[in-house]
């Protein structure tokens, strides 16, 4: 996941003609961190079963364990859509 901004010095990367072969970049490669991207981690709540491993309260006969995870599905979709809509201008600039 994106966890860090690129180090300031790490901008030019080797191209076929110029770079010395022994020193490829070792830092992050053009990682563009945005806070909004952290929304993509919200669905991870569904792999923490100690939070929801119980029968009560039931919903329409489904134990909590099951309907809670069903509920995370739309939440995850909303988070992903939010990230998509708030960052898509970056892609569309090049796509006219």
């Amino acid at each position: 996941m994106t966890t860090s901004a690129p180090p300031p010095g790490e901008s030019s990367s080797p191209t076929e003609e110029t770079s010395p072969p022994e020193s490829p970049p070792r830092g992050w490669t053009d990682v563009r961190f945005r806070w909004i991207n952290l929304l993509l981690l919200v669905p991870l709540v569904s792999i923490l079963p100690f939070l929801f491993n119980s029968e009560e309260p039931t919903l329409a006969g489904l134990p909590f364990f099951y309907w809670f995870q069903l509920l995370v599905i739309p939440v995850g979709i909303l988070c992903t859509v939010a990230v998509h809509r708030l960052t898509r201008h970056v892609d569309e600039e090049g796509e006219q």
Partner: protein
């Protein structure tokens, strides 16, 4: 075979033949000038928009695994089988950003496979070869799972022969699949995936509304599930499972979901689906929308409990002589639906197994052609040679899948996919992490791959199927079995964990330590053929041929 089964068989065969005809005709769809080119045969010309990509990725991901293996796991083990739901909930958000980077860099450099990327990034055909072999081998048990699903349907219809020739109907279906994949390439499954999804939606909607109503509602279904799962199993004397997780399988639940999610887009077939889409926006839209399938997956998974409530008895497989839990959903449909609708449902499951099998074999064939044949066997291969090689390789991969199903017999068919997951996860450092940083040394990645894979296979070998006593019986490891040169930090613990997760951690540790050592020794790191700006590129440059890599 009785009258009901005859109706089912006729409808199944009719739909199967219709789909096969579509598969052969697909080579004319959005026809390119020349199908004898790998980009055309293996990536459908790279021109699939959002809708086709949706069906293609959905066809990839929601398969016999969803319809047969996961319900069978809930039927036998209870809540643990529901891990497939968090798996598909977390997978798409987690991988969206890395996949966008992979799409961009692949477009700029003309990469078709994950191994192409590794070769360019690390200047190492050897590392690329390892990634390619891993992808091909990991795909085989996953295709084998599709075969298990298809076979469950055929045996329920009554084609339950004994001995080796009892597998004959399965082989026939598979040969038809192989033929139209050979003919039409990726266009065939992309076109059929649309039909498959329509059939599946229809069946699921009927099943999840009609069956619970008929069986007294979800409350009664869960009560029946709990009552049966809490009975001690004859093999172990322990309760078979529970409708909630226990203290011992919560860690397994989390690591199965996370491990499967991380593995998903390392599989060559998922990468093929992504790279054949036409833009970054196509990928973004799909990553947001694909979790909608998770709803269907969750409801299908619960059919495992519905089958318990309906008193379903798994069919005894005529060839192995053992009860085959893969048949529980087909038997449920057979018992509860009118025969004509059961026939449609069986066709949906069967076609749902064949579409991903086709896509997986095409992706594995791309790997063979690009990263092994062209790299090591015939460097001057023409595009025509490449396309022919890929077609032949797609046949070989299918044979490999058949071997897997013959040689490996885990307790649950889902373990076929999970064993594939252990294998493919070993490419995570070289493929996924490399999309973000080139910090790891290429030889350290090789060392991590060797260590992780060897240990993972050793651990899998040690897991014995309680019903048959054979090795490779599952993918869950009790922590007390973990020992490091005699030191067993969790001695006596019954807590279980997914083997793939353990092996991946070893892989990362070895790769990190190896990187520090190799760098201290000043070992050459090779040239990075990708440029920093490639990872966010939205346009495709005119010339997209891969560069030559000289050093090994």
């Amino acid at each position: 075979m009785n009258g009901t089964q005859t109706v089912e068989l006729v409808i199944f065969v009719a739909l199967f033949v219709a789909v096969a005809v579509m598969g052969f005709m697909a080579s004319r769809w959005r026809r390119a000038t020349d199908l004898e080119h790998l980009d055309e045969w293996g990536l459908g010309g790279r021109r699939f928009g959002s809708w086709v990509t949706w069906f293609l990725l959905g066809g990839d991901l929601y398969t016999a695994y969803t319809f047969v293996a996961i319900p069978a796991l809930l039927f036998s083990s209870g809540a643990l089988g529901f891990y497939a739901v968090p798996y598909t909930i977390i997978a798409f958000p987690l991988v969206m950003l890395p996949l966008l980077r992979l799409w961009s860099v692949s477009r700029v450099h003309g990469y078709v496979t994950p191994a192409d990327f590794v070769r360019g990034r690390y200047d190492s055909p050897l590392l690329a070869l390892l990634i390619a072999i891993t992808g091909i081998v990991a795909t085989m048990p996953y295709i084998a799972l599709q075969l298990a699903g298809l076979e469950a349907v055929l045996r329920t219809i009554g084609l339950n022969g004994t001995g080796f020739w009892g597998h004959a109907p399965l082989f026939i279906a598979f040969v038809v699949l192989a033929a139209y994949t050979y003919q039409s390439g990726l266009r065939a499954p992309a076109l059929i995936a649309v039909v498959k999804d329509l059939l599946i939606y229809l069946v699921i909607l009927v099943a999840i509304i009609y069956l619970p109503l008929k069986l007294g509602g979800w409350g009664a279904i869960f009560d029946a599930g709990q009552a049966k799962l809490s009975q001690p199993s004859p093999a172990t004397g322990q309760p078979a499972g529970s409708i909630l997780l226990t203290a011992n399988n919560q860690l397994q639940y989390a690591t199965l979901a996370l491990g499967s999610a991380l593995a998903l887009f390392l599989y060559p077939h998922s990468v093929t689906g992504v790279l054949s889409s036409q833009s970054r926006s196509t990928i973004r839209r799909n990553m947001a929308a694909l979790p909608a399938y998770s709803f269907l997956l969750a409801l299908l998974a619960l059919l495992g409990y519905v089958a318990i409530a309906a008193g379903v008895k798994p069919i005894v497989n005529g060839s192995t002589g053992r009860a085959d839990t893969n048949t529980i959903v087909p038997v449920l449909f057979d018992n509860q639906f009118p025969s004509w609708f059961a026939g449609i449902a069986f066709a949906a499951i069967g076609i749902g197994a064949l579409v991903p099998a086709a896509i997986m074999s095409i992706a594995a064939a791309n790997l063979w052609t690009r990263n092994i044949y062209k790299e090591f066997i015939r460097r001057d291969a023409t595009p025509r040679d490449e396309a022919r090689q890929a077609k032949l390789a797609s046949l070989v991969v299918k044979v490999g899948a058949v071997l897997f199903i013959v040689l490996i017999d885990p307790q649950f068919s889902v373990d076929l996919q999970l064993i594939g997951g252990v294998i493919i996860l070993m490419t995570l450092p070289a493929v996924a992490i490399a999309l973000y940083t080139r910090w790891f040394h290429r030889w350290a990645l090789v060392a991590g791959w060797v260590a992780g894979l060897a240990w993972g296979m050793y651990l899998l070998y040690g897991i014995v199927n309680p019903n048959t006593g054979r090795h490779f019986g599952g993918s869950a490891l009790a922590l007390d079995k973990l020992s490091f040169f005699g030191w067993a930090p969790w001695d006596g613990s019954k807590v279980q964990i997914y083997v793939g997760f353990v092996a991946l951690i070893l892989n990362l540790v070895v790769a990190a330590v190896g990187t520090l050592v190799l760098r201290a020794l000043g070992t050459p790191e090779g040239r990075d053929h990708t440029a920093t700006s490639d990872y966010h590129a939205t346009r495709v440059p005119e010339s997209t041929t891969p560069e030559a890599v000289t050093s090994v």
